[in-house]
Amino acid sequence: MDLATNLQMVTAGLAMGSIYALVALGFVLIFNAVNVVNFAQGEFVMVPAFVAVSIMEFFEIPFPWVYLVTILFMGVFGIVFQRIAYYPLRHRTFLPVVIATIGVSIFLKNAAQIVFGAEPKLMSRPTPPDVLNLAGVYVDPQYIVTIVATLALLAFQYFFFEKTSLGKKMQATAQDKEMARLLGIRVAKMIAITFAYSSILGAAAGILVGPIFYVTKEMGGMLGLKAFCSTIVGGFGNVPGAILGGIFLGVVEVFAAYYISSAYRDAFAFILLILVLLFRPQGFFGEKIAEKA
């Protein structure tokens, strides 16, 4: 096939993959911190998307302010979520917490329908609506913004976890709560911050995909599942693994849909998941998992 077509698909795949990566990262951070898979992660994307759309509907304020308010809201949302779905159950096994996150997920979807209505909403875009024609490859500027914003967030995250004291405390908490506590780190606070950060990553994803897709109560469902696949493919609990897993999944999906079958597009993600679980259960970057367990 010609180069333009393939490049076109790479761009679409990278953009989708970036979103998967952001959501996957949210999964991994919470998993590392409290050893629980948060099945409401998809709703962490849906809620901020609705919040941003509503702010735009009712107040005429510039995009950066909308985004800032949304991100702050989601920071608080993450802490409240943690207080409700994790904190009261923190001394139990992982299963009650997982069930609690599923409960919150169902609650949020239905609450969104009651508050925002069943009709999908269109989020205004900060980028021009016209596509760019780069030598025969049509690129939506929003795709470029999505990819760049994801890279920027990852760079920030690297700096934050490796170079700041707060980031290091959070890492220590994730690695060994007992030890961290002995060293005087306030573990409960670090966990709350991790949830807030994970929720903010969701906010970024919601703001970025809102203008490309439409905002519906169901938008987080498949996104959450695909992101979950990404974390497994990349190696569960592994940060670079989640990111590369997400991007890999996004690109594979588009190419498989084009060259093999478009009807089974969603199935490819899960076929990949099963293959990885069968032949490389630790994922592509899975060495660290043994360390963590």
């Binding site: 077509t5 269109l122 024609n133 439409y214 084009y258």
Partner: protein, 378 residues
């Protein structure tokens, strides 16, 4: 004391007996309507009742049928299939309805179909599943274009009104989309068009780059989109524009629905689609809009206007055939060239009233009529 109470009971019983004997009396014609009054489709039901009440008011104001008023009984179908069947039984057995306006849901009509056949009672229906009128039940009369007509009309439009010979098909992989795409493909081949490529997607998919590029690279000159969910259609319209509109676009009715256009906005401008009808496309249609506005002080709902046409056609048939179900049936089938809100009705022997749909172009966010395509009796 006891005697007095007893005599009261007897009196009530006598009144009840006399009353139950009365309705079959001569001064009115009893018809029934089985809309959803409760349950999931209650909102749709309320709109259908409004459309029907308007028709009823006009018919009775104009003197009813040969001096007799029409009495229309509404029996709740509870938005379910068993509810629809129960409503039919109640309408025919208790309410003694001569004929009915039934449901708009194909599955409910299927549930009622056998009983309708056993009673031998004419029922006007709004369900669009093409097979409903082709299962040997002579008592169902459809007053909306069925699903196969949209597909046939798209093919006919491409063949007769454009220069294109190579089409691409994109469709939802659900039963509705696949069925529609099958009809498009067969129809296209039958008239000598080439199907360059056929692609599908699953409901709620978000990225259609692969499908659209595949159609483009297969050399499709025009894409026929058979989508189910207006939300998916809106995403496709946007991404189609983002890929530089690599071919022309014609879509099934979902492509011109408000839900889709509200989301795709400027991306939908200039696209072509088929629609059951376009508000304001005919004089009858405009008059209905005015009357509805006067009666309810709101814009009429396009999806329930079939009930208005249904009752009018039914009453017209009663005028001709009298109060005899077999004669009413013949009179409905003999209805040719009747101008209704939805279009010009000419019944086929299967009981399909409409074999035309409108081809529209999206202009300033609303469908605008290009032409009415009649695909002829099947």
């Amino acid at each position: 004391m006891i005697v007095r109470r007893l005599s009261g009971v007897v009196l009530i019983a006598i009144v009840a007996l006399v009353a139950s004997a009365l309705p079959s009396g001569a001064q009115e014609i009893r018809l029934a309507f089985t809309p959803p009054i409760t349950g999931a489709s209650a909102a749709e039901g309320a709109l259908q009742i409004k459309a029907l009440d308007l028709a009823l008011k006009q018919i009775n104001a104009a003197g009813g049928v040969n001096g007799k008023k029409i009495n229309l009984v509404k029996v709740d179908n509870q938005s379910t299939n068993p509810g629809a069947l129960a409503a039919l039984q109640k309408a025919v057995e208790q309410e003694k309805a001569l004929a009915l306006v039934g449901s708009v849901k194909s599955t409910q009509i299927l549930a009622m179909s056998d009983a309708v056949k056993n009673y031998g009672v004419p029922m006007m229906i709004g369900g669009t599943n093409a097979t409903l009128t082709k299962q040997g039940n002579p008592w169902l009369f459809r007053v909306r274009p069925d699903d196969s007509i949209a597909a046939a009309a798209m093919v006919k439009y491409i063949k007769e009104d454009t220069q294109f010979t190579k089409i691409g098909i994109l469709h939802d992989s659900d039963a509705f989309g696949t069925g529609g795409a099958d009809l498009v493909e067969q129809g296209a081949k039958a008239v000598g068009l080439t199907v360059a490529r056929r692609e599908k997607y699953t409901t709620k998919e978000k990225d259609f780059t692969a499908q659209l590029l595949s159609l483009k690279n297969a050399g499709a000159q025009i894409m026929v989109l058979y989508g189910t969910n207006p939300e998916d259609v809106a995403v496709i319209q946007r991404q189609y524009r983002q890929l530089g509109s690599p071919f022309k676009y014609i879509g099934s009715p979902s492509s011109q629905m408000k839900d889709a256009l509200n989301l795709s906005r400027e991306a939908a401008e200039g696209l072509i689609a088929v629609a059951d009808f376009v508000p304001g496309q005919s004089e009858v249609n405009r008059k209905y809009a005015d009357d509805y506005k006067k009666e309810y002080n709101e814009v009429y709902d396009t999806t329930s206007a079939w009930a208005y046409d249904g009752l009018n056609i039914l009453v017209g048939a009663i005028k001709k055939g009298g109060e005899d179900r077999a004669k009413i049936r013949e009179a409905i089938l003999a209805t040719q060239g009747y101008k209704g809100v939805l279009g010009t009705f000419s019944f086929t022997s299967n009981g399909d009233g409409l074999s035309e749909v409108s081809v529209v172009q999206i202009e300033k966010g609303a469908p605008k009529l290009l032409k009415i395509v009649n695909v002829g009796a099947k």
